[in-house]
């Protein structure tokens, strides 16, 4: 059983600070400062916050974390656990005491349920509750059960003692694919069920691992959750659209678009807007953080963004049709989003809006 899965004993090892734990594992404070600096950079905090975060986190105790899997595919867990140490996001498992996670824990059956109940009791009011997957609410939650209990009852019971809830992935954040029409299980987001606890949504199918690390680091550093947008997403990672930070953005600004996946424009790496890219209306950090150890992200691989971190992305029409006006917002809001990112002149932004209107109208 990994150390992080051991039942918590009062006192002893859990009293060690994060800094002491890392030092014991041979992670120098210089390495930790580097980790914190990189994290502060990714969270768009002032660069000087790296030092502040390093100092605060080194003194922090690891919080108890319970991770509940509901209507999910385990892709979120795959995303988080495929981050190998010593990458930044890999540090997440040093930062928490993961007291319940079905996929990762050695215990099974009644033992695992006993561990969950014990952790909830020992850390009442203090633990972080992580949820991946949507919550089945149809037939009183009977569509999805664990150990004979519904996900719905687990969530409502565990939420009572949670300091905060983190919805990991689009399904927990917004209902995701289980909620897609016709939504046979009555799938709902965590925030549709729980109304009296702070909830952070980290959408994405799957979510970007370092976002979870960043939220936890913020919690450890400041004792609070990071600033959230209207959809409960951390602004540090969801403040810009994919389009705002896309390396293909200069082509968009110049009106250079791929018209098919094998034309000259596609070969030249031009903007994929007309091929259905949802980058202009999708808030996420893929274009900057990227995937697979920073190798690439969908647009870099030649495919438009699907908008997987946005609510109801599955039911918003074809992935291969240019953004229609109305369904994802008006061309004015698209243009507004477009104007935020790269420093382009007002004339260029106006031209971009006109272009988007024309494309949306099929001109």
């Amino acid at each position: 059983m990994p150390d992080s899965m051991k039942p918590r004993d009062a006192g002893d090892a859990h009293e060690a600070t994060l800094g002491e734990r890392l030092a014991a594992r041979g992670v120098s404070r210089r390495a930790f400062l580097k980790f914190a600096s990189a994290l502060a950079s990714m969270m768009a905090l002032p660069p000087s916050m790296g030092l502040v975060m390093a100092q605060a986190m080194a003194q922090a105790k690891r919080p108890s974390v319970l991770w509940f899997p509901f209507q999910e595919c385990t892709g979120c867990t795959e995303s988080i656990t495929r981050s190998h140490t010593p990458t930044i996001e890999g540090m997440i498992f040093d930062m928490i005491s993961l007291d319940y996670h079905e996929t990762l824990m050695a215990a099974a059956g009644h033992q695992s349920e006993a561990a969950r109940e014990q952790a909830m009791k020992d850390n009442a009011g203090k633990y972080l509750l992580l949820v991946d997957g949507s919550v089945a609410t149809g037939l009183d939650g009977a569509y999805s059960t664990i150990g004979g209990q519904t996900n719905l009852s687990w969530l409502t019971e565990a939420a009572k003692g949670a300091a905060a809830i983190i919805a990991v992935g689009t399904c927990a954040s917004f209902g995701g694919i289980p909620k897609a029409n016709p939504n046979p299980t009555g799938a709902r987001a965590v925030s549709d069920v729980i109304k009296d606890k702070p909830i952070v949504n980290i959408p994405g199918c799957p979510p970007i691992p370092v976002v979870l690390t960043g939220v936890l680091a913020h919690f450890l550093t400041f004792g609070s959750l990071p600033e959230l947008d209207a959809l409960g997403r951390p602004k540090a990672f969801f403040g810009d659209t994919i389009h705002d930070r896309c390396y293909r953005r200069p082509f968009y600004d110049q009106g250079l678009f791929a018209k098919t996946f094998d034309d000259e424009g596609a070969r030249n790496g031009w903007c994929l807007y007309e091929l259905g890219c949802k980058g202009p209306v999708t808030y996420n950090a893929c274009a900057t953080v990227k995937w697979n150890a920073g190798t690439s992200f969908p647009i870099q691989s030649g495919h438009g963004c699907l908008g997987c971190s946005e609510p109801d992305f599955w039911d918003k029409g074809s992935f291969y049709k240019a953004l229609p006006v109305g369904q994802w917002g008006s061309a004015a809001t698209l243009g507004g989003a477009a104007a935020v990112g790269v420093a382009v002149g007002a004339a260029a932004a106006y031209a971009a809006r006109r272009r988007q209107d024309k494309i949306a109208k099929g001109d």
Binding site: V27, S28, R30, L33, P47, T87, R267
Partner: protein, 150 residues
């Protein structure tokens, strides 16, 4: 069907006439900010830091930054959770720090305006532990004593 070699593939940013390689103006803005930060450092000692990943930089922007902020007298290699290189530019007090992970991926990149970047300094806790370790090394070796007893 044409062969693969007949398909014209253009690597973005590879040639100077690609849109992504034109300076966007961001490099000039950064350089002016550095000049301001240097004046502050000289007048009251206040430090400054610019996160180069916090704004979009074209390859032209990077070329401009690297040309102006050429390497100066100090270049430091740090091995901590992957390599980090810290270079003082030709402008004393302006340091270019690049953090990489063990895969070589750049995880953070800063311009620091300071007399000495924080990452170069020894942490007092590490100093304390290192000092205790050295004392243990200098104490007449307990294991030798044990061996002589045998």
């Amino acid at each position: 069907m044409s062969g693969l070699k007949d398909i014209a593939v253009t690597v973005i940013g590879a040639s100077a006439d690609q849109p992504g390689s034109d300076p966007s103006g961001n490099a000039s803005a950064i350089l002016h900010e550095i000049a301001d930060l240097l004046e502050r450092l000289a007048s009251d000692g206040s430090q400054g830091m610019i996160d180069l990943r916090a704004m979009p930089l074209t390859s032209g922007d990077r070329a401009q930054l690297e040309e102006v902020l050429a390497a100066g007298a100090v270049r430091v290699a740090i091995d901590a959770a992957g390599p980090t290189e810290v270079v003082e530019t030709v402008y004393p007090g302006v340091w270019w720090t690049r953090h990489h992970n063990e895969s070589g991926e750049t995880v953070a990149e800063f311009i620091e305006v300071t007399v000495c970047p924080e990452i170069l300094k020894s942490h007092i806790e590490d100093v304390r532990e290192g000092g205790a370790q050295l004392r243990r090394v200098l104490v007449p070796d307990a294991s030798d004593a044990n061996e002589s007893d045998d």
